[in-house]
Amino acid sequence: MSVTPFRLPTIPLYKKETIMNLIAKGLRLDGVRTPESPRSVKVEVGVIEKAEGSAHVRLGNTQVIAGVKIDVGTPFRDTPDQGVLTVHAEFVPLASPLFEPGPPDENAIELARVIDRSLREVGAVDLNALAIRPGEKVWIVWVDLYILDHDGNLFDASMLAAMAALLDAKLPYYEEIETGEIVLDRSKSEGPLPVKHRVVTVTLAKIGDYLIVDPDFEEESVADARIVLAFDEQGRIVGAQKTGPGGLTTADLEKAMDLGWRAAEVYFKALDEALAGKTGGS
């Protein structure tokens, strides 16, 4: 069951007005950004040595770690020749005074599912290349998203972390023993995880009549609605989700696709820089 959030702190009305007045002048609360620009973004890969792939993303004060773990398992019955990709998100309580311990709530599930669909629909990971013994043994790829610090726009930070961790990931070395069982040696590798497409999401918030890119926590708190758009590198839209209690006009949608693609290019650049020589970005 989904319930109107009833534990969010009350937002004073003047704060929304302040934010809107700033946007009208092309400004944001942080005094630095324009309505169209995302916060500074920093992507670092290989941060968890024990994971097959990992990344740490900072988007302003928002911090997300993604870890990729790869195991051997059984394929789904309707796709016997494909590996399995699973995206899971935990909103652990250290990240925000609003998060409580417990199983993923609707927000964590929505986030994981939007990212999962966007990766899946465009075929970001080549699942056909992940069968070890078709119909029997395939690679199971877990993408675990860990929110460490929530200052708004978890979608974009999480998608960047997921994508960077997948690009960082290596398949473990394996041997088939006599019994037919597959035995892994995670200290060696079969080569990189086959990633065919890169995807980023861009989230825009609607505040009054304005649309702004990459809302921080305060902006999200006063926003009427948000729209998350997933882009591949050719600019196609490979996933979308309106989220939050409000509505959008067709004009909003048009503008969101426009501003979204421009921000997507910033995110793709951060991803490139992180992967170049596998060191940090800007």
Binding site: E121, G123, I237
Partner: protein, 238 residues
């Protein structure tokens, strides 16, 4: 989307069930189908059949689940175990949890919760048969049940999904088209106030395709909302 290329559009441009690309399935709506609920509605899009019930505004059982200045909306989208080909476990799946949220957020833009502080408005939706488009049928049924319960609303909401099948945009996709298609774009809107209130994309589309799909959906939703008004009138005229 790496789907097997099934041919679902005939040479004449017709769909596997004979519909034109911009044609809806037969739609049936009935209001006031339950005696206990404050409002209720049954909605069918072809074989997709959902029932929605509204209870409230009422005092919540969990006393803490309130807001001092307005009503809290609770929405549950749930599938009956017998609604799908393979039996669905009745425990809520991650998909049902997500859909409950997007349906709630598709209804909140038209509600006036500040009229009922410290109360709960409950919308319970059961999918009795699933043949594609259950979430948009659910929004439609919920909108009717809310109106039937006498909850004041800025506008009625209706919903429909547009798909892309064999490269063609098609209206009101059924399960066959959904599972074989290249994209599925469920949309809900309140035409009377010009707002899109549910918008999801599962698949790959260009920006031009999205524009075309949204237009196709919004046109159909205007028709669907007219049907809602007729169904509400039908109840109160008899």
């Amino acid at each position: 989307m790496a789907k097997a290329q099934v041919q679902l559009i005939s040479e004449e441009g017709l769909r596997h069930d004979g519909r034109r690309p911009d044609e809806l399935r037969p739609i049936r709506m009935k209001v006031g189908v339950l005696s206990n609920a404050d409002g209720s509605a049954l909605v069918e899009f072809g074989k997709t059949r959902v029932i929605a019930a509204v209870y409230g505004p009422r005092e919540p059982i969990q006393k803490y689940m309130v807001l001092p200045d307005r009503a809290v909306l609770r929405v549950r989208y749930h599938m009956a175990p017998f609604s799908t080909s393979e039996r669905k476990s009745p425990a809520p799946s991650r998909r049902e949890i997500e859909l409950s949220k997007v349906i709630r957020e598709s209804l909140e833009p038209v509600l006036l919760p500040e009229y009922f502080p410290r109360t709960t408005i409950d919308v319970f939706i059961e999918v009795l048969q699933a043949d594609g488009g259950t979430r948009t049928a659910s929004v439609t049924a919920a909108s009717l049940a809310l109106a039937d319960a006498g909850i004041p609303m800025k506008a009625l909401v209706g919903g429909v999904a547009v798909g892309k099948v064999n490269g063609v945009l098609v209206l009101d996709v059924d399960e066959v088209e959904d599972s074989a298609g290249e994209a599925d774009l469920p949309i809900a809107a309140a035409p009377d106030i010009g707002l899109i209130t549910l918008f999801q994309l599962n698949g790959v589309l260009t920006r031009d395709e999205i524009r075309a799909a949204v237009n196709m959906a919004l046109k159909a939703i205007e028709y669907i909302v007219e049907k809602e008004k007729e169904a509400l009138k039908a109840k109160y005229e008899f």
